[in-house]
Amino acid sequence: MSFATRGFSGRRREADTRLPPGQTLVQDWPVLSAGPTPQVDTADWELTLQDETGADHRWSWDELLALGVEDITVDIHCVTHWTRLDMAWRGVSLDKLFEDVESEHEFVMAHSYGGYTSNLPLEDLLDGKAWIATEADGAPLTPEHGGPARLLVPHLYFWKSAKWIRGLTMMPDNDAGFWEQYGYHLYGDPWKEERYW
């Protein structure tokens, strides 16, 4: 029974050919959060990559940065219909983390401080497609935006780019992460509008 409300247009939304279907352009960076914001100090921060043998590969903050940071400019697409174009990021490529990790498993669960999870195919994390990001817009990531470090997988909807990243666990099957269990798509390609189950 919905009808257009006279005079209402909502927050300014722009169209652009670089936008995936159903997305609108924003200039700001909305904060989305499914729970309390974890406050993690870089001194205490640690990233753990668990392979299929159960063995852990660990990096402290300094060890992560020592792997080499790169500057990246990418578009990000949030499933709540906003897109930001040409966003400047800095982070460590996941190729560096997986260099010495042998695994037959094809899937990865990203784990966050605070308990958030998201599942991804391993191949979507390799070959320059994903990073552990530590800076955005020229400044260290704030806790609201996932700092000190978040996953950055810009070719998938942004809920896959888990904030407050603390671990990556190899999995034999594509088990569902947090939003994937509660209704969002197991893969999440914005160009195919893979939003929900």
Binding site: S2, F3, A4, T5, R6, G7, F8, G10, R11, R13
Partner: protein, 253 residues
Amino acid sequence: MSAPSLASVGRSRPRPAWHVATVAETRRETPTAARLTLEVPTWPGSEAGSHVDVRLTAPDGYQASRSYSIASSTPEGQVILAVDEQPDGEVSPFLVHEVRPGDQLELHGPLGAFFVWRPGESDLPVQLVAGGSGVVPLYAMAAAHGAAADAAPFRLLYSTRTSADVFFADELAALTGPAFSLDLVYTREAPDGWPDAVGRLTRETLAARTLPAARQPRIYVCGSTGFVETVARWLQDLGHPAAAIHTERFGGL
């Protein structure tokens, strides 16, 4: 007055539904807020404290929905809302500045069976604590209490920036009497000759201007998320059981 059984309360509670509202009147409530009087022919009336979800639709189909407390409503189809403008907000500036008589809005409601006050349910006193626009559902409770001539004593502690920022100022003044008392705390500027300090609500003021735990008040706290969080914690420190404290967070900081 004997308490109605839960079963009968349940049966008489109006079912939520989508309604088309026509704006009958808009007026300034405070320097930052507007009062909207809506005609809703299908409206069933509501319990004091409940809210509606207002849904706006843009020409391209984009929709935004927000919750607003019902300041008053009648089964005869009138719903009054009071909306405070959030400067960078998406919906509240539209409702405060753009809406005019004759416009139609979609409402879902009445909603919420928990943050409500029902006449005759208990003889225990009631303490209301409001921050800013958080007074809207609490004003509805005080008005319902007055209309029902309910015997339970009511007291409202209302934190407001200045006297111009008081929502329903005349209505609240008119309700004041033996069964309802109003305590104001001015956070920015008080009227001339005001005896109390101007500034943020403190734990001491809360303790001094609210019913003590010994009187076992039922408590309703409403305002921004930060305000509600702080007040609810202080109330527990003052000995009120968590189960007696009902909260409604409006969001924000």
